[in-house]
Homo-oligomer: 337 residues x 2
DNA sequence: CATGGGAGGTTGTACGTATAACGCCGTCCG
DNA sequence: CGGACGGCGTTATACGTACAACCTCCCATG
């Protein structure tokens, strides 16, 4: 590369190899069988290597009318959960020659910035978590192929949806705690308006109500340890029957509940059982280790990407929720043990 | 939009507004002052709105020869640290009309996949963490403007570097523990070949050596709680003088050290002091809360992006490491307290 | 010997945009 | 009254690629 010169184009390669630009495109595009001789092809490849040629993706995208780039819209990346979703989605995408661009919705329901303008890349499709509330209004009305993660199948504008079987997770938590003998519950819920969290709450309430004599209170907090601490401490200190178990919408909230329990001198699990959802690394770092619902984030991302690829190819995405699994650890025990 | 039709182009807008395509480009590009009348401009804007026109970014990128897209190459997103870096970088980028695409290097030093092929987007520049070892070889030799995060200023191919003052962090840890009276140390180091971790180790050793009679052993583990648990347990159970303090390269490693201490019946901080680096949410979730070095991940990302923007504009990036701050919490105390 | 056809290319064009260069028309000044 | 100039546009072109269509040998075949 001479200084000041720009990147080499396919025409530069052609000149160096003594062929036409079209021949370069054919060879490097792998479509030269029966069109270009092996010796010429090798000469082209060598010239490309020497010049350090990289195809101009903007030009290729323009020509082909597609970019093989998918936008993944997620809420903030404050836990590794959506990192896992990204990893799974990116893996499947790579297998099909697609790239994935991440758009973490600015904190919460911020000023609805435009993900399409912000992620400058030209896009072939979008996968969006229903929790990325701020960005969703901007996405609606765009005619890009869309797959929603964890979204109300009825209210997703006809877009395909991929869901974790989160209602079943709530069922497993409820049955586990009921079997241990708990009757008085606190639901420490995420203060995010999202279909997912509504379903969790409804499923939890429904399954707890199957046993007579149970009580269920709720309190809400933003998904952060400090906010959860504040909310849990207030709820535990409130007058009336103290719950013997706290069901949290998220492991981070559970960590806040741990801190509240410590402040109030309550031992876990003897005085108070706590459950989470996600199974983050955090879950086994705290003492006692957290009983939680394991969500397979990578599988979630994989299924989301598979669904989008199906949409892009005109196929119908596979049906079926992704199963989740209760992992029983040390934070749950019979009440008053 | 009639069904089956493709996205509207600027020419469609022009037709609808009864003007030329060039006029549309001028109006929508904001360069119409003195070239197009206000009434015509308004007509164009209305037509664009009615048709739901979005400029084709591939075409724009091709025409302008730049994409306003930056690639951020990071190691795996298993903690929120690099999520913070991304957030900071993306904020500064957005202020300058740039987008950021994330490339998490496949686990560790995986098969050196090509970040440029994987992230399909056409790029204007690259910011790369020196910890993303696998991807770095692919980046080298590419003539894209490059900024390295936490990299040896000497060995970064002349690329600009932005560093956290990690050596000073190690100094603060060393002086804190020495002041408490500790003399026998274990360094639980990250098993990642990276300049950053070498510097931490060197700085730690140098500052501890300033006090006569100190001892320092090292053990290495991949950055995960379970691996750290294994390594720390082995090191603590080894014959010889047991360390009274463990200095960890990372909060995740520190969490592993907590678990090792619990298994061995050692109380923190009475029997064993532990320190980390990063100040993740995890640090205040575990009990006792972790004394650690707070790294400002978002500022790190901001400075990285500012440096890259400077490079792109031909300016010289600002000098100076980013200061870090020891946060003293409950995991450190005088030995044998 | 004419004809077909395959191997090995080349020429030409379009993707959608931004912008340089060029009108055209009315007005105003010398 | 000529021409310069400003306001309001238009026409033409280039960015780099992928591929359809074409072209030219040369050999085999009837």
């Amino acid at each position: 590369m001479a200084p000041g010169s720009t990147r080499p184009t396919s025409r530069d390669v052609a000149r160096a190899a003594g062929v036409s630009q079209a021949a370069v495109s054919l060879v490097l595009g792998g479509k030269w069988r029966g069109r270009v001789s092996e010796t010429t092809a090798e000469r082209v490849r060598e010239a490309a290597r020497d010049l350090g040629y990289r195809p101009n993706l903007a030009a290729r995208n323009l020509r082909l009318g597609r970019t093989r780039t998918i936008l993944l819209v997620v809420p903030a990346l404050t836990t590794e959960f959506f990192a896992g979703v990204y990893t799974g989605a990116a893996r499947i995408a790579a297998e099909h020659g697609f790239g994935v661009v991440l758009y973490p919705s600015p904190e919460g329901v911020g000023p609805a910035r435009d993900p399409f303008h912000s992620a400058q890349a030209a896009l072939d499709g979008v996968i969006a978590s229903s929790m990325a509330a701020g960005a969703l209004t901007a996405i609606r009305g765009d005619q890009l192929p869309l797959v929603m993660l964890d979204s109300d199948p009825e209210g997703s504008l006809g877009a395909a949806t991929v869901n974790l079987d989160i209602a079943d997770g709530a069922r497993q938590v409820a049955e586990h705690l009921l079997a241990l003998g708990h009757r008085h519950f606190l639901h420490l819920a995420a203060a995010i308006p999202s279909w997912t969290f509504e379903i969790r709450a409804r499923s939890l309430a429904a399954h707890l109500a199957q046993v007579p004599g149970t009580s269920l209170n709720s309190t809400h907090a933003p998904i952060s340890i400090e906010d959860a601490l504040t909310a849990a401490e207030a709820a535990l200190a409130a007058p009336g029957a103290r719950p013997t178990a706290i069901v949290c919408d998220d492991d981070l909230l559970a960590a806040g509940a741990y801190k509240a329990a410590r402040r109030l001198g309550l031992r876990i699990p003897d005085d108070l059982s706590i459950t989470g959802i996600d199974d983050l690394a955090l879950a086994t770092a705290i003492d006692p280790e957290l009983t939680t619902v394991r969500l397979d984030a990578e599988l979630f991302g994989e299924r989301g990407m598979q669904a989008l690829l199906a949409v892009l190819e005109g196929r119908t995405p596979a049906e079926g929720d992704i199963p989740v699994e209760l992992v029983v650890r040390g934070s749950t025990a019979p009440p008053g043990a």
